[in-house]
Amino acid sequence: MIRAFFSGIRIHVLQFTKNPFDVSGVLLWPILYASIAYYLLDAKNDPSLLLSASLGAAVMLMWSLVVIGSSGALEHQRWQGTLELLVAAPVPFAAVIAPITIASGVVGAYALLATLAWGTLFFEVPLAIEQPLAFVVAIPACVLAIGMLGLIMAATFVFYRAAFALGIAMQYPVWIAAGLLVPLSVLPDWVGPVSWFLAPTWGFRAIQEAALGRTPWPDIAMCLLLSAIYLVAATACLRGFERLARRNGTLQLT
């Protein structure tokens, strides 16, 4: 199972980097959102605001790749007629799906480089990471937590014919609720408690706090805790939905 898991991550990272659609997304979208934020914020007197915007745009792309990647991957398996084979394989289905979502997050981590480089080169965003060690730890913690949240989403996608459309539609709500580019203080009060349950909130905070030299370790711990909770929940959901789909004969949905 461990071999299947790591082979899956390697294969899906390779697939992502070979697909021009995904590559263009990784290159374009974080730069685009970061640019919109730079032009709107115009915060020459507060460079940390622009650095936060860069990091927020990067985590936005991580989530997008995870949620679109997991929904698209299942839909592709369904089109290719390989979904039943994967479900029937002796390896737990979660060990097949999790690499897809984590690989999406790994590729999304490239967005960090893209937005930081873009901001530094064209918008004079200071590239000063105050706590490099915490920053380096925060990135994989963020990738893992977002990937695990994607695994829960993937569990529901097994059951759903319009998985890809749902994946696309899930981007903005999480971007807003996690406070990635727009601080939670600007949003209605009830959004705050919702954000506590979302991995991108803690992943972004961990990276941001490390970059700005504050207290990233509690946020990193929250990422790890949420990852464990998501894994348990996603495995249970996957088993339940898989059993239902088998019983009703609806796995292929054709």
């Binding site: 021009p20 659609f21 263009s24 997304g25 374009l28 979208w29 685009l32 640019s35 919109i36 934020a37 032009y39 709107l40 914020l41 115009d42 014919r161 319009a162 459309a165 749902l166 696309i168 539609a169 981007q171 903005y172 709500p173 971007w175 807003i176 580019l181 727009v182 601080p183 600007v186 949003l187």
Partner: protein
């Protein structure tokens, strides 16, 4: 007359096919969810940045929703036929190409307008933006003209489907760039000169400006120069799109690449 029949029957058939695949009760919430949250995202970003009003982002993104569906609908019309392996059969028919592919795109264009109108209404309520009822008819006219321009741009993209493998890539990149370049989310005077130069040559920029003018109390006559520019840009893209469609069909037949994946 025959071209009109092809356009209408093709459109109705593709709409029926769409709802054979997915229930309208599932389809519309999906379609509405994306623009609603997009509008809210940028409106709150604007509030945080202290730039422009909620109305600015509401109009910009609602119009973007219309444009994107027109552009994607037209852009994917050719690619969809290729994927379902019906492209060569279609191109062997004597039917007008424009009618064929526009027919397939019309459902998504109409859906886009309905979805944008519903998103606009929902977000107006959430954000507390009130527009006089008298402006609505003028906004519909502006929306139709903007949709025409975006669909014409989509025709250019769709024609690439006769030559290229991945039209989604172009459509996605252009749709994404429009978030910034069209002035939907950033006031044009905040953008550098080279981006403003691009803005002035693409569909939607002038349509959005006209819509904002109407929302601010100007009449349709007072924004007619913007509307004429928007329609003119759409006409140019339409002519280029038809030309590219013919050129790439000819080249595809000559080099036998119509079904190359």
């Amino acid at each position: 007359m025959n071209a009109l029949r092809v356009l209408f029957v093709g459109g109705v058939t593709s709409y029926r096919a769409l709802f054979n695949w997915i229930s309208p009760w599932v389809f519309f919430p999906h379609m509405i969810g994306y623009p609603v949250f997009e509008i809210l995202f940028f409106a709150y970003l604007g509030r945080f940045a202290g730039v422009e009003s909620d109305e600015f982002f509401l109009i910009g993104n609602a119009f973007l929703a219309i444009a994107v569906t027109g552009m994607f609908g037209m852009g994917h019309a050719v690619a969809g036929e290729r994927r379902s392996q019906t492209l060569t059969a279609l191109l062997a028919s004597p039917a007008s190409r424009l009618a064929l592919f526009l027919g397939r795109a019309l459902p998504s264009i109409l859906t886009g307008i309905v979805v944008a109108a519903m998103s606009f209404a929902i977000c107006s309520l959430i954000l507390g933006v009130r527009l006089p009822a008298t402006t609505l008819a003028a906004l519909v006219v502006v929306a139709l003209i903007s949709s025409f321009g975006a669909t014409a741009l989509g025709l250019c993209l769709g024609s690439l489907g006769l030559r290229g493998r991945n039209v989604s890539l172009f459509a996605d990149v252009i749709a994404g760039s429009m978030l910034l370049v069209s002035g939907a989310n950033v006031p044009l005077d905040r953008l550098p000169g080279w981006i403003r130069a691009i803005s002035s040559g693409i569909p939607l920029t002038h349509g959005i400006q006209a819509a904002r003018g109407i929302a601010d109390g100007r009449t349709i006559g007072e924004v007619s120069d913007l509307l004429l520019t928007e329609a003119g840009i759409g006409a140019v893209y339409l002519i280029v799109g038809i030309g590219l469609l013919r050129l790439f069909e000819f080249e595809g037949r000559r080099s036998a690449t119509l079904e190359a994946f």
